[in-house]
Each structure stands twice: as C-alpha cells, then as structure tokens.
C-alpha cells in the first residue's frame, strides 16, 4: 500500500500486534462457527458447504478438481457430491465434448435457501463498509487479499 498513512514513522506499539493476533484468531474462530451454522441450517456439513461454494465460484467442477482443492480423497468427494445432489443444490452432468468427464454443476433455481442464509450477513457487512472511506476500504481489501494468500500457502504447507 503506502501513501495512506500520515505518520508512517510512529513506532508500532507491541500491544497493537498482540491485539491484531487476538482479533485475527477470534475472526477465524467465528468464521468457522458461522460456516458450521450455515451448513447445519442447510442440512449439510461444513465440507459439503465449502465444496458447494467451490462449484458456485467455478461454475462447474469435476470430482478430481474438488479433491485437489479441498485435499479430500476422491472417495470422500463422492459422498460430498451425493449429499449435495440429494439436497438439490447440484447435479452431475457429462461434458458434451468428452462423455467420460462428469462435472458437478449448481442448480440455480434451488439456490434460494443459500441466498436467504447469507443475505443478512451481506447487509451487515455493507453497513460495516459504509463506516470507511474509499482509501480505507482499499487498505482493508489489500489486507484481506494478502491474508487469504498467506492462509492458502499455509494450507498447502500442511498438506505437504
């Protein structure tokens, strides 16, 4: 970033680092609990829900892609897909160009419950954003993107 601070040379008080670590840990714990509560309210477990998110982000995904992105075995992914299909959120579809390839794709008309669950969070986050200026939001975005990148690398390391 840079350019935002008016007082870059102020030394960072050690207790600020401690507060940041504490806040990060709390946000992380709350994130996990929230996703567990979301999954439960949709009749899914947290892994099913995360795989559904991947399918939604990618538009469609193969079982192999889901296994790679989550670190789960293809056997475990098969169970995940079965549960998501049973819940009505996704369907299996063959690639018209290669009938050996099976994709998992969302069923858009069945995704309303998912949107209903997340709508109040989106509203609360929009209110939170409104507290900050454009420059402040750019700083927050920078921090969020870099944190996500760090976590992705740490996850890779653990899967080793």
């Amino acid at each position: 970033m840079g350019g935002l601070s008016m007082n870059r040379r102020e030394p960072v008080p050690p207790e600020l680092y401690a507060s940041l670590q504490d806040a990060s840990r709390k946000l992380s714990t709350q994130t996990v609990f929230f996703h567990q509560a979301v999954a439960k309210s949709l009749g899914l477990n947290i892994t099913d829900h995360k795989c559904l998110n991947i399918v939604l982000e990618m538009g469609r995904a193969t079982a192999g892609q889901l296994a790679e992105l989550t670190g789960l075995t293809t056997g475990a992914i098969t169970s995940v897909i079965n549960r998501l299909e049973k819940a009505g959120f996704v369907r299996r579809a063959k690639d018209p160009n290669d009938l050996r390839v099976v994709y998992v794709e969302p069923i858009p008309s069945n995704l309303q419950p998912l949107q209903d669950v997340f709508a109040p969070l989106g509203k609360a986050m929009a209110e939170l954003y409104s507290r900050y200026s454009a420059d402040e939001l750019r700083l927050i975005l920078d921090y969020l993107e870099r944190s996500a990148h760090i976590l992705a690398r740490q996850t890779e390391r653990l899967k080793g």
Copy 2:
C-alpha cells in the same frame, strides 16, 4: 474510526465493494480449509480443534460451556472431549470447590505440536503487519473486530 482518511468525500466505486465481498469470501473459505488442514495434521477434526481453542482461550471449560459456545449437543461434546483427551491435549479435572463439576483443561506440556503448526502462520502474519503503519494497523484491527462481532451475531441468528 475516522481521522485516517485524507479524502473521505471520494465516492466509493461500486467495484470496490464487489472486490471486498469477493476477498472476504475467499478469506473465509481459506480460513475453513486452513483449519481443516491444521486439525487433520493434529489427528483431530475441525470441531475438536475449535473446542481445543476455546479451552485454551478460557483456561478451562465445562462440557456445558463448550456445548453452549459451539452449538453442539452435550453428547457430541463428550465425543470431542474424549478425542482431545486421547490425543493428549486436555484432561478432565474436578473443581476442588465443587466435585460435581468436571472441567476440561489443557495439558500445557503436550501443546508443542499445536505451536509448531501455527508458528509459520504467525511468522507470515508478522511479515504482513510490517507492511503497514501503526494507523493502518489500527484501522485493520477495527475492521477485524467489527467483522468478528458481525459473524458472531449471524451465527447466533442461524442457531436461533
């Protein structure tokens, strides 16, 4: 916050909100995947790991407190405590002032694997913090605390 921005009146570009939502979602997904990878590397599942974190944060906790904080049934919490005890991270101990009350408490000498798993993340986060000024870090802290609070309330709502 306030006071940080030099240009509070600049309208926030709509694509900045979209980027923030996208970054929040990605960070959230990476957080869940990271915690699953941590739990797996410790021989635990993600719920066991989160309960262990609660015990560490509180110093000690009863099964009832863990059930309340996680939204799990006391039956499910009993299984969690059994696994944590078997893995050597916690022990059950009676309250000397009321022998009917059983607390779960960490076994500090057995927590080294937990510290080893998180140390590289702590190092990477410390490097990230070093990119920002004290004022910028205070803004980030404000955002993290408010986000955690929002998620906690949303989780409460879902558990309804």
